[in-house]
C-alpha cells in the first residue's frame, strides 16, 4: 500500500530532435584568429572587432568560476569547442520570405510558426538558429511606430551608433568569466530599441535554438527603452538531445531611461541531460538591467525548467531615483540537474524599490540554490526591498539551498527577507487523490499553486505554457 515519494524517471524531452542541415562552421578552438573570423563573417566594423579582442585578452586572464557557485562540473575545454555555426542556405538569412524550408519546419515543430499569418496575434518573433538569426517577424509593423526589432548582427550594420552607445554599458566585457567569453565570440541575438514615449504595441520575443553539435551558443541581447517607453519581451529556448554537454553563455543588457518600463520574461527549456546526467546544456548566462533614469522599472520573470546546469542572476541596477526592480523566478530541477540562480538588486538612487520572489522546486537528485544580493549604497535613502524565497522538495534525494547576501549602507533603507522550505507531503497528495485527482495531477496542482505568484507575472499564453512545462518536467518525479 505504501507509495513513498521516490525515484524519478526522466520524461522524454520533446524538443530533442536534430535538424539535418548543412552548416558553415568555424574550426575548433579559440584564439584571436577565430574572433577575427567571426567578426569578418558578420562584416563588422573595426571598433567592434577591437572590442571583442579586448574582451578576449581580458578573458584569458580570468578563471572559470568553480569555487563560489553551488554547482559541480568539469572544467570546460574551450579549445575543443566551435564558436560559430550557421546553417548554409542558398538565400541570405534575415528575410522570412525566402527562408530555407528546413528551418521553417524546425520552428514549426517547436511550435513557433514564423509566417506572420500563423503567428500568435500580437507577438513578434526573432528566431535564432545556432549562431544566426533566421528572421524576425512584424519588423515593418513595429518600424511604423519607430521601434527597432532585429537581429543583433543587423543592428550592428543598420544602427551602429545605437549599438555602440549601449553595448557593454550594463554588462561590461570584463564583468565576469562567461560575460567576457561572450563579448569575445558572441554571434547573434536580438536588438530592441523603443524610442521616447512609445508603448510597444505587441509582445516581442526571441526563440533560441541550438542545433549544431559541439558548438557553443553565445548570443547577446540588448534592449533599450527611451524616456517614457515601455516594452514586454519574452525568450524561449530548446536544444537537441546530445550526449555531450553544450555551452550556452549569453549576455542580456537592458537599459531603461527615465520613466521607461521593460518587462523581460524567460521560459528556459534547454535539454537537461538524461537520467544518468549525460549531456545537457550548461546555461551560464549574465543578465542585467539598468534603471538609468528616474521612475523607470525593470522586471525579470523567469521559469527555468531545462539545462543540466543553470548559472544566472538577472539583476537590476537601480540608478534613477524612485526606480523599481523586480525578479520573479521559478527554478525546477529534476534528475541530476543543478541550478544556482537568483538576482542582484543594487540600490543607488533615492526611494528605489525592489521585489524578489523566488520559488525553487527540487525533485529527483536535483540541487537547487537561490543566490541573491540586495545592496543599498550610501545615497539610496528610503530604499526598500522585499525578498521572498521559497523552496519545495519532492522526494528525499534532492536539495534546496539559499544564499542571501544583504549589504545596507544607508540607515533609512528597509530590507525584508522571508524564506520557507516545504516538502510536498504524502498528506497533500493523498488529499487531492481522495478528491479524484491522480498523482501527477495532484503534484502539478500543488506545484502550480506554489508558483502562482510568479506565473501571474507572465504574459497569458506563456503562463499556460509554463504550467504545462512544469508538469512535464516533474512527470515521473513521484513513484
Amino acid at each position: 500500500m505504501s507509495s513513498p515519494v521516490e525515484t524519478l524517471v526522466n520524461k522524454e524531452y520533446k524538443y530533442g530532435f536534430v535538424t539535418d542541415i548543412e552548416s558553415d562552421v568555424a574550426p575548433r578552438g579559440l584564439n584571436e584568429d577565430i574572433i577575427r573570423l567571426i567578426s569578418a563573417k558578420k562584416t563588422e566594423p573595426e571598433w567592434l572587432l577591437k572590442w571583442r579582442l579586448k574582451a578576449f585578452r581580458g578573458w584569458l586572464k580570468m578563471t572559470e568560476p568553480h569555487s563560489w557557485p553551488n554547482i559541480r562540473y568539469n572544467p570546460i575545454d574551450y579549445q575543443s569547442l566551435r564558436y560559430y555555426a550557421a546553417p548554409k542556405t542558398k538565400m541570405p538569412l534575415g528575410s522570412l520570405d525566402d527562408v530555407d524550408p528546413k528551418l521553417l519546419e524546425t520552428y514549426q515543430k517547436l511550435g513557433i510558426p514564423l509566417s506572420e499569418q500563423k503567428l500568435l496575434a500580437g507577438v513578434a518573433v526573432d528566431a535564432i538558429f545556432d549562431s544566426v538569426s533566421v528572421g524576425t517577424t512584424y519588423k515593418a509593423k513595429l518600424a511604423e511606430v519607430g521601434i527597432i526589432f532585429c537581429s543583433f548582427g543587423e543592428a550592428v550594420r543598420e544602427h551602429p551608433d545605437l549599438v555602440r552607445k549601449y553595448l557593454g554599458s550594463v554588462v561590461p566585457a570584463s564583468d565576469n568569466f562567461f560575460a567576457a567569453l561572450n563579448a569575445a565570440v558572441f554571434s547573434d541575438g536580438s536588438f530592441v530599441f523603443v524610442p521616447r514615449g512609445v508603448q510597444c504595441p505587441m509582445e516581442l520575443s526571441t526563440y533560441f535554438r541550438i542545433n549544431a553539435a559541439e558548438t557553443g551558443q553565445f548570443e547577446r541581447t540588448l534592449i533599450v527603452a527611451e524616456e517614457g517607453a515601455s516594452v514586454s519581451y519574452l525568450e524561449g529556448c530548446t536544444a537537441p538531445r546530445r550526449d555531450e554537454n553544450q555551452l550556452h553563455a549569453a549576455v542580456v543588457e537592458l537599459v531603461a531611461l527615465e520613466g521607461a518600463t521593460i518587462k523581460y520574461s524567460t521560459v528556459q527549456n534547454w535539454y537537461a541531460g538524461d537520467a544518468e546526467g549525460r549531456g545537457g546544456i550548461y546555461n551560464f548566462v549574465t543578465k542585467r538591467g539598468k534603471c538609468a533614469g528616474a521612475n523607470s522599472k525593470i522586471s525579470w520573470t523567469q521559469v527555468e525548467t531545462g539545462s543540466a546546469i543553470t548559472w544566472k542572476y538577472p539583476s537590476v541596477i537601480l540608478q534613477g531615483d524612485n526606480s523599481v526592480g523586480e525578479f520573479y523566478s521559478v527554478a525546477v530541477v529534476n534528475g541530476k540537474q543543478q541550478a544556482d540562480t537568483g538576482t542582484k538588486m543594487i540600490h543607488m538612487g533615492k526611494n528605489t524599490r525592489s521585489t524578489i520572489v523566488s520559488k525553487g522546486i527540487s525533485a529527483g537528485q536535483g540541487q537547487n540554490s537561490y543566490r541573491g544580493l540586495v545592496k543599498v549604497l550610501p545615497k539610496a535613502a528610503g530604499a526598500r526591498n522585499y525578498t521572498q524565497c521559497d523552496s519545495m522538495l519532492i522526494g528525499n534525494r534532492c536539495g534546496a539551498h539559499t544564499f542571501p547576501y544583504i549589504e545596507v549602507q544607508n540607515s533609512t533603507a528597509a530590507v525584508e527577507h522571508e524564506a520557507s522550505t516545504s516538502k510536498i507531503g504524502e498528506d497533500q497528495i493523498f488529499y487531492l487523490k481522495q478528491r479524484g485527482l491522480n498523482t501527477e495531477n495532484a503534484i502539478s496542482m500543488i506545484v502550480n499553486g506554489f508558483c502562482k505568484e510568479v506565473f501571474k507575472e507572465l504574459p497569458m499564453e506563456f503562463a499556460v505554457e509554463a504550467q504545462k512545462l512544469l508538469g512535464v518536467t516533474l512527470e515521473g518525479s513521484v513513484g
Binding site: Q428, Y431, Q434
Partner: protein, 251 residues
C-alpha cells in the same frame, strides 16, 4: 454498499485494526465511536486508501468491488468520500479551481462531460447555500488560513458538490462551536438520500443529536466491541467508554 470483513491494518510495525467487521447498506447512517487510540480514524483512512497504513488481513467490498485493490482516486471516482479530520492546505490554488478540478475528474471517470466554469458556478451557488457561505470563500486558496471550523465546513461543501455514495466523516465535529456544528450537520442531513450512506466517526455523542444514526458501533483496541441503535450513543455519553471495555474484558 460497504462490507468490511476481518479487516486488519498496521501503521508501521504497530497493529491498529485487529479484525473489523462492518456492513453499511444504502440509505443508512452509521456512527463509529470509541475512545482515543481505538482505531476510528485509521478505519476511515484505510477505507479511503491512505498510503501510511498497510492492510494485513481481511477484505473490504464496496458495491461488490474489492475496494482495497483500488487507488485512492479510483475510490473517490467510484463515490467514496472522506471528510478529513485535518483538511490539508493547498496554497495558491483557489477553492473554486480545486473544486471544479475534482468535480470534473469524477465526472470524467463516470463518462460524463466536464463542466465549464460558468456552469460550475451555478452549481456552486446552490451548494454554498447549504453550508451558509457567501461566494467570497471560493477565491481563497484551498484551506489556507482557514479556521478549524471553516476547514470542516469546506469539507462538507466538497461533499455536497461531489455527491458521494459513501461519505465518511472523520471527527468532523472536533473543534466546532455550536453554530458551526449545526451548519455542518445540516449540510450532511440535507445530502442524505435513499441510495447513499454515511459513516460518522466521532468521539462525542453531541454530533449525533444532529445527525441521527441508524446504527452505533463502539471501537476499542482495533475491534468493534459493541453495536446497537442510537440509544447506545446516549448510554456512552452518560457512562463513558470504561464500562464497555470492562464488559469486553469480562466476557
Amino acid at each position: 454498499m460497504l462490507e468490511i470483513r476481518g479487516l486488519r491494518a498496521n501503521a508501521g510495525d504497530k497493529e491498529i485494526l485487529r479484525g473489523i467487521d462492518l456492513t453499511v447498506r444504502a440509505g443508512e447512517v452509521h456512527a463509529v465511536m470509541g475512545p482515543n487510540g481505538s482505531g476510528k480514524s485509521t478505519l476511515a483512512q484505510v477505507i479511503a486508501g491512505h498510503p501510511a497504513y498497510a492492510v494485513t488481513g481481511g477484505e473490504v467490498l464496496y458495491e461488490g468491488r474489492d475496494l482495497l485493490d483500488m487507488e485512492p482516486e479510483e475510490r473517490a471516482q467510484a463515490g467514496v468520500f472522506l471528510a478529513f479530520q485535518y483538511p490539508v492546505e493547498i496554497p495558491g490554488i483557489s477553492n473554486a479551481y480545486f473544486l471544479r478540478a475534482a468535480y470534473n475528474e469524477i465526472r470524467k471517470a463516470r463518462g460524463l462531460e466536464e463542466v465549464d466554469s460558468m456552469d460550475f458556478l451555478d452549481l456552486l451557488e446552490e451548494k454554498l447555500r447549504l453550508v451558509e457561505w457567501g461566494p467570497e470563500i471560493m477565491s481563497r486558496a484551498v484551506n489556507s488560513g482557514f479556521s478549524g471550523g471553516e476547514k470542516k465546513r469546506n469539507e462538507i461543501l466538497q461533499m455536497a458538490i461531489l455527491e458521494p455514495k459513501l461519505a465518511i466523516l472523520d471527527e468532523t465535529d472536533s473543534g466546532l462551536d455550536i453554530d458551526a456544528l449545526r451548519i455542518v450537520a445540516g449540510g450532511v442531513n440535507a445530502l442524505r438520500r435513499p441510495n447513499n450512506a454515511t459513516v460518522v466517526v466521532t468521539h462525542y455523542q453531541r454530533l449525533l443529536n444532529y445527525i441521527v444514526p441508524d446504527r452505533v458501533h463502539v471501537l476499542s483496541g482495533g475491534r468493534i466491541v459493541k453495536s446497537g441503535g442510537k440509544e447506545l450513543a446516549l448510554q456512552l455519553e452518560e457512562r463513558g467508554y470504561e464500562w464497555i471495555e470492562e464488559e469486553v474484558a469480562a466476557s
